[in-house]
Symmetry: C2
């Protein structure tokens, strides 16, 4: 027995932290070189005038006693939860506003939800968002890891899983591969979860990027409301990575061992969370309006066009990669059997382009890198040109 949580002594490489260190060193040695980042999945498109004005006006309310806002409600303002409820209606899903929790980012929400669980086995399909693994380890758990690889078309289904009670992390569209589950595949996971009394934590951070006729939610699927918690965010959808706003859906029908998880999470939020600022939620409400959605779609199309550009260059080089119509990312196999970090170094040192080493998304991501479409079109083209020239020179085409 230990006074402190010894799990925090586990070595957990934060790939983005390590990238930062390498980039800083490169900058220092090459002060005049422009570095282009196709690395961290961070948005770059500025806010529309309308969105900015609405948020500024909401902020100005703090200047007058009559409109001054104090503590925000822990579960989120009703106006935003109503708007999210409306959005789900467009998917033919009926939610109660009590099933919606406003949070300050999926990163926090999907880690905080672990407070609700005690003796569980995390089931993680890699490559994926590294925080699932890291937060499990910090909680003293040993995740059961499945690999999404070229061999299984980057899609893992429950038929390969030993039936046990898991906390199942699904990310669709997947970060980094872009793989997006079909309704039939999600149904398989839901049936598996209900059969094994497991819970699915579905990370929908890239839900707004879904273009094909693929599901934006599981709640149209029978049984989903008994086992799926959905995590969504305004970060990538509307450029809110700085503002921090997300929402978590915990259906009231989810119970395990007579514990209602919706009630548990409400208790958690009332005790350990104090809500999200008013004007951030006002901005988020606008983003879900008809006009807001049109604006967001423009940005998403812009990022997706960058993905097309990246794919165009990689295709010309006949490199081995995957992407999809529903993702801002490209998942590229390193040429010549290079390791993720080797290829990262090559691209940084020869092209001044930052990518993310695939090993940061799990062991099976070794030998891959992730490229993102979140930069400007000009920078994306420039980066691709540099990569193209370098690869031709190094004869890195197949």
């Amino acid at each position: 027995m230990s006074f402190v949580n010894q799990n925090y002594t586990n070595k957990l490489d934060n790939v983005f932290y390590k990238i930062g260190q390498k980039v800083n060193l490169f900058s220092k040695n090459n002060p005049n070189t422009q570095i282009i980042s196709l690395g961290i999945g961070d948005v770059t498109r500025p806010f529309s005038d309308k969105l900015t004005n609405i948020m500024v006006n909401a902020l100005l309310e703090q200047q007058f006693a009559s409109t001054f806002k104090g503590y925000p409600p822990e579960q989120g303002y009703l106006f935003l939860r109503e708007k999210i409820k409306e959005r789900y209606k467009t998917f033919n899903v009926n939610l109660s506003v009590d099933e919606i929790f406003i949070g300050n980012g999926i990163g926090c929400d999907i880690a905080n939800i672990l407070d609700m669980f005690q003796d569980y086995t995390p089931l993680i399909i890699e490559p994926t968002y590294p925080a699932y693994f890291a937060s499990s380890v910090l909680n003293g758990k040993t995740p059961h890891v499945l690999n999404a690889t070229k061999e299984n078309d980057f899609c893992v289904l429950p038929n390969v899983v030993e039936p046990k009670q898991y906390l199942i992390y699904l990310c669709s569209p997947n970060n980094p591969t872009g793989y997006t589950y079909t309704k039939k595949q999600l149904k398989e996971w839901i049936d598996f979860a209900n059969k094994t009394n497991s819970i699915i934590l579905l990370d929908l951070a890239y839900e707004f990027f879904i273009q094909e006729k693929l599901p934006h939610t599981t709640y149209t699927i029978a049984g989903a409301k008994k086992c799926v918690i959905e995590f969504c965010s305004f970060s990538k959808m509307s450029g809110f990575t700085n503002l921090r706003c997300s929402y978590t859906i915990i259906p009231k029908a989810i119970k395990r061992e007579n514990v209602n998880l919706n009630s548990s999470f409400l208790k958690r939020q009332l005790t350990k969370f104090n809500g999200v600022p008013y004007f951030v939620q006002v901005g988020a409400e606008y983003v879900l309006s008809t006009q807001g959605q049109i604006e967001q779609q423009k940005n998403i199309d812009y990022y997706k066009n960058n993905v097309k550009i990246i794919c165009y260059y990689l295709s010309k080089l006949k490199l081995d990669f995957v992407s999809s119509k529903s993702t801002p990312y490209v998942w590229l196999k390193c040429p010549k059997g290079k390791s993720s970090w080797q290829f990262f170094n090559d691209l940084l040192n020869n092209c001044a382009v930052i990518v993310v080493p695939g090993c940061g998304f799990g062991k099976c991501g070794e030998g891959y890198v992730r490229l993102s479409g979140f930069n400007s079109m000009e920078n994306t083209i420039k980066a691709c040109e540099e990569i193209y020239k370098y690869m031709i020179k190094e004869k890195c085409t197949t």
Copy 2:
């Protein structure tokens, strides 16, 4: 062994939630009665023009690609951490910016810090902020509770505590009693903590209200940097309850069982937290500037004047209460041996005034209520007049 965390099934009355229900019912039955709240400790003074402008300008940066901000740094922007470091210098304390973590509220920070600990006994001095007890229980711990009462002048010192390794919650100035520790008393707690390998979690939410020559930090006291984590917030100081911004100081010298708690918490934040919005931190930086401090002091003086008004009326009634020069609160013994909720009901139903039942701050708070100075002066006077009239009528004076 249980899949879900059964500690969440513990009954935890949220006193503020229950107040809300009672007030809603009263409003419904008395639609034309103006209710005045001397209840929840939530700020009401609007932002200054300067603070608002600075934050609006920071928000406007999101409208342009060249100034657009993405993910905030998990530990907080350096400019704000530098400013906090400067503030500590005015107390003759040298901190490194790495010892400062920007968070989104003490409520979150002081609950999140529990992730760093495993087998510990919480030591809680009641009456106090109820989240210490609640978050301990949700973490499966049975707090060791000590009572601050009239008999010990609302001050508990470690000489009455069995030496054991604890997580010690101190709140100074205390919410709700207003009791503020002297340097000598804090030294006793620090010596006790170092002798027992305990850790002190010092909640300084009301630090800016400290008026007498009492310590704003423990780090001028020998040994403090080996055992004290300090939690501060912009909520009450600068009216940021809606904006959510706080800071936690974890000295690098704090180690237990060879685990460095500063490193652990950094790992936690990198994994489970995504930072606080840019313009909120810009606002917080301004608040710590010379001009910002002058503005904040005006608001704090305003709230304290309300406390004086409340004390004036209660003194006229010769009621039994405590407060201090360093608190926005008054801790009042219910007259005629009434229970906290009885007296709450009396004041709501007869005066249309909301207070907080003392039992919400711990069992020993039963028979007390807390009154807050956070309303407008006009409303505070009106509420006091109503209370005065009612108490005279009911012969509730001593």
